[in-house]
């Protein structure tokens, strides 16, 4: 019992065997995550191409790929489209609609609740490509279900409103996650807090502002981070529009695909991938900062002397 290791080595494995247990996972992470990431950074500094001379003998071109990308109106346009796509489908769509559904269903029990939850979940558990083709069938110009329902034959939703189409599609597909997360969060709001606000005469808006949102703030932040990152990196809209027409729905993951694989410019594609990684990192850092500030303030508050 007096072994000096026992304080930190709870399992009593010893260093050598502990490393043995961790090693397989580290090797897998190294081969499939760290190496490709580093390889992408390297590729981004070269003029590597899918075919031709540069495929056989790539040259290091320094930061040219990055400066080219940042000067390329197609890249900047794609970045703005992505911001619109994330803002419209993740933040405004999934988060707001998911919260609204969770709030309305919170006091419901029985058949209605199970029905809504079932339908919303179904859209979440279907594979994205399947959902993509379902929506393609829904929005199709000639034989689409939506045109049949609205009696607007020949209306080309995907051509006339490509960004709106993929935003609605992604809201439909991803709302379940936010709804479930907010349902769980709302269970943590004590009913007596809401009832106190109701007795004071608070409207629903005031109840949400003064009681609910302060209590579920951390859930909101976690939800926004996750769905923003997922949506930012989402490739599924490719199934609907392929980025078109004329790049009007070419969000960044589709842009990378079009540049690297269709255009064959692997080096340029790798550089843009790395830029996407940096943007994701920035998202995560801002979120962690927000959470940490909150935690520090709470610690400072509860650290006071209880009387």
């Amino acid at each position: 019992m007096a072994r000096p290791m026992s304080a930190v080595d709870a399992a009593g494995l010893g260093r050598g065997r502990a490393v043995g247990f961790v090693l397989p996972a580290l090797v897998l992470i190294g081969v499939f995550l760290v190496f490709p990431a580093l390889w992408t950074i390297y590729l981004g500094l070269t003029d590597y191409r899918l075919t031709g001379l540069a495929a056989a003998n790539p040259q290091v071109v320094g930061l040219d790929n990055y400066t080219d990308a940042l000067r390329d109106p197609r890249f900047l346009g794609s970045l703005w489209l992505t911001v619109g796509y994330v803002g419209g489908s993740a933040v405004l769509g999934q988060a707001v609609l998911g919260f609204a559904l969770a709030w309305v269903l919170r006091t419901r029990t029985g058949r209605l609740r199970r029905l809504v939850e079932g339908v919303v979940l179904l859209s979440w558990i279907l594979p994205s490509t399947v959902v993509g083709f379902l929506w393609f069938a829904l929005l199709d110009r000639d034989d689409g279900t939506l045109n049949a329902l609205l009696n607007t034959p020949g209306f080309a939703w995907l051509l006339d409103h490509p960004l709106l189409s993929i935003i609605v599609f992604n809201v439909w597909r991803g709302t379940a996650f936010s709804m479930m997360l907010y349902s769980a969060a709302l269970e943590n709001v004590p009913p007596s807090h809401l009832e106190t606000a109701r007795l004071a005469g608070a409207s629903v808006f005031q109840q949400l502002r003064d009681v609910v949102l302060p209590l579920i703030r951390r859930h909101v932040l976690t939800n926004l981070l996750l769905i923003s990152l997922w949506t930012f990196n989402d490739f599924t809209p490719f199934v609907l529009t392929g980025g078109g027409p004329e790049g009007r729905s070419e969000i960044l993951p589709i842009y990378v695909y079009n540049v690297a694989l269709r255009g064959g410019e692997l080096g340029a594609g790798a550089a843009v991938s790395f830029l996407i990684l940096l943007i994701n990192l920035a998202f995560a850092l801002v979120y962690l900062r927000l959470l940490r500030d909150r935690r520090r303030r709470e610690a400072a508050l509860t650290g006071g002397p209880p009387a």
Partner: protein, 348 residues
């Protein structure tokens, strides 16, 4: 004044939480709703608050029919069992919250909050958050929030049950003094009969959505209307012994007792005596319950003695120093007794 007429509430699934409640609570009265869990007392309180809607019947507060008004327009304040303080607001903001909702100007509501806080000795804590307060302080903040908006009635849901035993006694005295000073009609819910007896001007004992007995603590304690109330009220449970009337006398647990008037032979009776109203005699008497001392429970200034005789238990409270020894044979002589027929109290 709060008046309830024919109040009924049936929950989905058929549970009758309230079953035709008629009740009038006077101005400034401190009124207790007492009963075991599931008796409907909390539902009744929440229905008065407007948090539950009544199935039928009417509620009026100060002659104003509020049956269909939402909680925010009934001008009542409720203190919940868990106090429901908002964790992200400090004490001042919590107390001033109802005033903020009523759009009272900021300076005015801060002054009002500080004023109420001073009355409840919370002045030193105004900048604290609820997590930094003790249970007793949190309770006072919840009370302050209820007082600050000058309601026509206070509704308390188990106001003392989250405090530890010692603090609960202090808070009880404090609450009673505060209610006297404010003279605001107050309804509170409790499952603790001692709390109801100590605090209330009047008590309603409830069971299965009905009011079994309404009366002052003295009435409810001295003359429980049914055997249910008799067994529920009192810190030591009342002895309820099956009895039989014959030839002008009552026979119960080995004792022959004088029968009240109006009994017919063969009635199904229960003879009730509180342990506090029993004397212990070391010598045999015909009008006493015989038994062997099987348990002695020290209550501090007195001792609860359990006599056993042929599977029947009779309890008596004796003063300190007068305790029999375990295994002694003794006779318990009732001083003051009640007789129940079919569960209902017989008039003496």
């Amino acid at each position: 004044m709060i008046s309830l007429h024919g109040l009924t509430k049936v929950f989905p699934g058929g549970v009758r939480a309230l079953d035709g409640i008629d009740l009038t609570i006077g101005d400034g009265e401190f009124f207790a709703l007492l009963g075991p869990s599931g008796c409907g007392k909390t539902t009744l309180l929440r229905t008065i608050a407007g948090l539950e809607t009544a199935g039928s019947g009417t509620i009026s507060i100060n002659q104003r029919d509020v049956t269909c008004l939402p909680p925010g327009r009934r001008n009542v304040a409720m203190v919940f069992q868990d106090y429901a303080l908002f964790p992200h607001m400090d004490v001042t903001e919590n107390i001033a919250y109802p005033l903020r909702i009523r759009k009272v100007p900021r300076a005015e509501r801060l002054a009002k909050a500080a004023d109420v806080a001073r009355r409840l000795s919370l002045s030193e804590l105004l900048r604290r958050r609820p997590a930094q307060l003790s249970g007793g302080q949190q309770q006072r903040v919840a009370l302050a929030r209820a007082i600050a908006c000058h309601p026509t009635a206070f509704l308390f849901d188990e106001p003392l049950s989250n405090l530890d035993a010692r603090l609960r006694l202090e808070a009880r005295t404090f609450l009673k003094r505060l209610q006297r000073e404010l003279a605001v009609t107050t309804v509170f819910v409790t499952h603790d009969q001692a709390e109801a007896l100590a605090l209330a001007d009047r008590i309603a004992v409830m069971s299965r959505g009905r009011m079994i007995q309404v009366g002052t603590p003295a009435e409810v304690f001295q003359r429980p209307a049914t055997t249910f109330v008799a067994s529920f009220i009192g810190s030591t449970p009342m002895n309820l012994l099956p009895a039989r009337a014959a030839g002008g006398s009552l026979y119960a647990a080995g004792a022959v007792l004088p029968a009240p008037a109006g009994l017919t032979d063969g009635d199904d009776l229960v003879y009730g005596v509180r342990p506090e109203y029993m004397d212990l005699s070391p010598t045999e008497r015909p009008d006493a319950f015989p038994g062997t001392v099987s348990v002695l429970e020290n209550l501090g200034t007195s001792t609860l003695v359990t006599l056993e005789e042929g599977g029947t238990f009779v309890q008596a409270v004796v003063d300190e120093g007068d305790e029999p020894r375990l295994g002694d044979h003794a006779w318990a002589v009732p001083r003051r007794a009640l007789v129940y027929r079919d569960g209902e109290l017989l008039a003496p």
